[in-house]
């Protein structure tokens, strides 16, 4: 995958397939420490130890366990290539946490990409989803909360095109400010 945002969409799809209704995505870019840290926490059904191992191994992931595919192992390979790693922690009934670290300025690190489109795609569903996204870059913070969006929209569902295009533009606009308006996408 060419963008971190696509890997993240893939992770969020795993969470949704595992029955999650609350997702928390935190990204931190620390320029001085040359670190990019990503954390995704869900409240899905969670995994047993054996399942965690299998989830990370591309050759042991079978069709019968549909909720994880090649995605996690792909993302881990990318993280390792960039001087970091991907770790999974989970317990049955206690959700799953995926943590990724990478060298921020590593030449192989994929660009962040279109996070707005990723968040909009995750919210485009029939069942309600609580999604919180926080992005910190050198002390500057952008936050998106679907709970706040729901408060404003009331009865209007998220999966209408005007709403989702607004979400996409709001997220990308907010992130652009973190990057000081420079061309990032």
């Amino acid at each position: 995958m060419e963008e971190l945002a696509l890997h993240l969409l893939d992770l969020m799809e795993n969470s949704l397939a595992a029955g999650a209704c609350r997702l928390e995505l935190k990204i931190r870019e620390d320029i001085a420490a040359n670190l990019m840290a990503i954390e995704l926490v869900d409240d899905g059904r969670g995994m047993e130890e054996g399942e965690i191992k299998a989830a990370l191994d591309p050759f042991f992931t079978t069709r019968t366990s549909r909720r994880v595919g090649l995605g996690l192992s792909l993302f881990r390979a990318t993280a390792r290539q960039c001087g970091g790693d991907l770790t999974l922690s989970s317990r049955p009934g206690a959700g799953t946490r995926v943590a990724v670290i990478m060298e921020l300025n590593h030449v192989d690190r994929p660009p962040l990409g279109d996070m707005g489109a990723t968040i909009a795609a995750a919210l485009a569903r029939e069942l309600p989803l609580e999604l919180y996204y926080r992005h910190e870059r050198d002390g500057k913070v952008f936050e998106f909360s679907s709970t706040r969006l729901k408060e404003i929209l009331g009865d209007i569902p998220f999966n209408l095109a005007p709403v989702l295009t607004w979400v996409r533009d709001f997220v990308n606009g907010g992130l652009q400010k973190l990057y000081g308006g420079e061309d990032r996408l």
Partner: protein, 119 residues
């Protein structure tokens, strides 16, 4: 279109058009968003669908995503469900095809047969 004021304006517009039409059941456009779909460009397809539906101010269309349905070789997949009509699944959709699917099928009800995979 990205400030909170824009959102409030948008809310008002959507509410008005919902009240005006009382459309009943919505048309649904579903984009496959498994690993296979994402790698093949499903997110861009969804963005194109959203742009096209928003541009035409269609409030009777719900845009949703779904996981892998096992037709990975045909991804990106787009389903169009018009109430009272059979489900139509399009395969190997790109952004440009997605825009045409909205314009022809969703708006005018004309199925684009050559791209359909569940004939």
């Amino acid at each position: 279109m990205k400030s909170v004021e824009d959102l409030l304006k948008l809310k008002e517009e959507v509410q008005q058009s919902l009240a005006l039409r009382d459309e009943g059941e919505k048309i649904r456009v579903v984009v496959g968003m498994g690993t296979c779909g994402i790698a093949a460009g499903a997110r861009e397809v969804m963005s194109a669908v959203l742009d096209e539906v928003a541009k035409r101010r269609l409030t009777n269309v719900a845009v949703t995503q779904t996981g892998c349905i096992g037709l990975c070789a045909q991804e990106p997949l787009v389903d169009v469900l018009i109430p009272g009509k059979p489900r139509v699944t399009y395969g190997k959709v790109n952004a440009q095809k997605a825009r045409q699917i909205v314009a022809q099928h969703v708006v005018n009800g004309i199925v684009i047969r050559e791209w359909v995979v569940n004939k």
